[in-house]
Symmetry: C2
Subunit: 285 residues, 2 copies
């Protein structure tokens, strides 16, 4: 009844006898509760967020159904799991981008060792320079080719230019030799597209002093075939995930998340603008 | 003819035979050009900024008049100085706040030793937690009491609550026992007040990919007496200063500065909102 998620692009995975999340057929996602502070923090977040957040922001988070004892994927027996909405369950062939937001993924209260370790990761990826990094992705190509899903090692070494290319590929029908960005206006643009959703999130982050989301990811998800078939609801999803390091804001906005989000918004809007320019140029040729 | 500036609140000071900036009687500020990379970087910034920035943003920077060989304040002889506008020269009794913006004052290309040293300073101040820190200030009290100017050591140890209190004191006629915030609506609010100017700067930072301003300060300056006398032009100034670590943006917005600026804007707007609430409450009593 429990299965290994087919569409996980980052994080611990329940393969080869490791501990990782599971899904079922009813659209639920079971995430093992870590047995240290990270588990306590993430559970506390999910238990509090729906009463703490304004209505129009709650949709950016997976639905939380409580906790449940589930046979762990590593064979270690029953273990408490967070029961969450499986965001991918409504999508046949989801293209997914996992973007860890913030130019700092460590939090001030952490131990010295933790800070130095995480800081090193931040400096080796685009986290420090861009204010975000891509943590994982899969892009649906076609029935024949399936998904393009670069290996973790490759993802970790992405440069700023790689990020720009990925953001173009993500909304293209062809990935090689030059992505056509043919879905850019529908997926990034439009009144319910990714950019509009990110701007809504940004407006909230300019004001909210409830949480600081360290090391949290934006998950962007859409289904190329539903775009091609003209289905509109809900073909683009923007969700926040991973709250093992989400702490109280103590009256201060999450300037680290906000700065990174604004940087990511700029990257996305550049793809949108460039694709409009290309369309206009093409219509003149 | 050259004098030690009376209203300097942070940075190297030309006292006790040290090297520091000088002013003259014509409203110019002479900043010694550091003879390492910092000097080169700051000079390159001043030489380029006016052609690189949109017109409405240039006013946020001191006017640059070139460089000049000037007798250094430490007696070491002639030395090249940046010749800049002395921002305080139009003000009789300026209240000044120097706010270093950004949750990170180190830049990715710096040496390991520099990063670790600066990071430590960032963690010991409010830089990491608030996304900015107060680097210095003076608040004019009255002809009798003069200025309140806390010592550097005290400024360095400011907590988030100290910052909130300073932002209230800055726009108050009385500092003790409880600041009255009587200038808040004029200085922070209003169509040419600090908040409006900061929001204009923010809109630019959401888009600009020209410079990354590491370890740069916002200087906020106003003159209580001109407010009391109803003079309006130009009684509130918002300037950016210190560009020894300003580097090319390489197509990425300055998310570090932007995040810190948004955090600072939130602090300022809270003082403004609270002062409005107090005024309404007072009018009911």
């Amino acid at each position: 009844m429990f299965k290994i998620p087919k569409h996980q692009v980052a994080g611990h995975q329940a393969i080869d006898g490791n501990l990782g999340p599971l899904i079922d057929d009813s659209g639920r996602f079971y995430k093992p509760l870590q047995d240290d502070e990270r588990g306590t923090t993430e559970l506390a977040f999910y238990q509090s967020f729906s009463s703490m957040l304004p209505h129009h922001i709650r949709g950016f988070f997976p639905v939380f159904y409580g906790t449940q004892l589930v046979e762990a994927s590593d064979g270690s027996g029953l273990r408490p799991h967070l029961v969450l909405q499986d965001i991918t369950s409504n999508h046949l062939n989801p293209s997914i981008l996992d973007v860890k937001i913030g130019s700092r993924t460590w939090y001030p209260e952490a131990s010295e060792d933790y800070i130095q370790k995480v800081l090193e990761g931040d400096r080796l990826t685009t986290t420090v320079t861009l204010g975000f990094r891509i943590s994982g992705l899969q892009i649906y190509e076609s029935k024949e080719s399936g998904y393009w899903k670069p290996a973790r090692k490759e993802v970790k070494s992405f440069s700023a230019d790689d990020v720009r290319l990925i953001l173009r590929k993500f909304v293209s029908s062809n990935l090689e030799p030059e992505p056509d960005c043919c879905f850019a206006s529908t997926i990034y643009g439009g009144c319910s597209g990714i950019l509009e959703q990110l701007l809504e999130l940004k407006a909230w982050f300019e004001d909210q002093t409830v949480y600081h989301f360290h090391s949290c990811s934006l998950l962007l998800l859409f289904d190329k075939e539903s775009v091609l078939n003209g289905r509109t609801v809900p073909f683009v999803e923007v969700k926040l995930i991973d709250f093992a390091h989400t702490v109280e804001a103590k009256g201060v906005i999450d300037h680290n998340f906000l700065g990174g989000l604004c940087s990511f918004i700029k990257f996305v809007s550049e793809v949108l603008t460039d694709s409009k320019v290309s369309t206009i140029e093409a219509s003149f040729n």
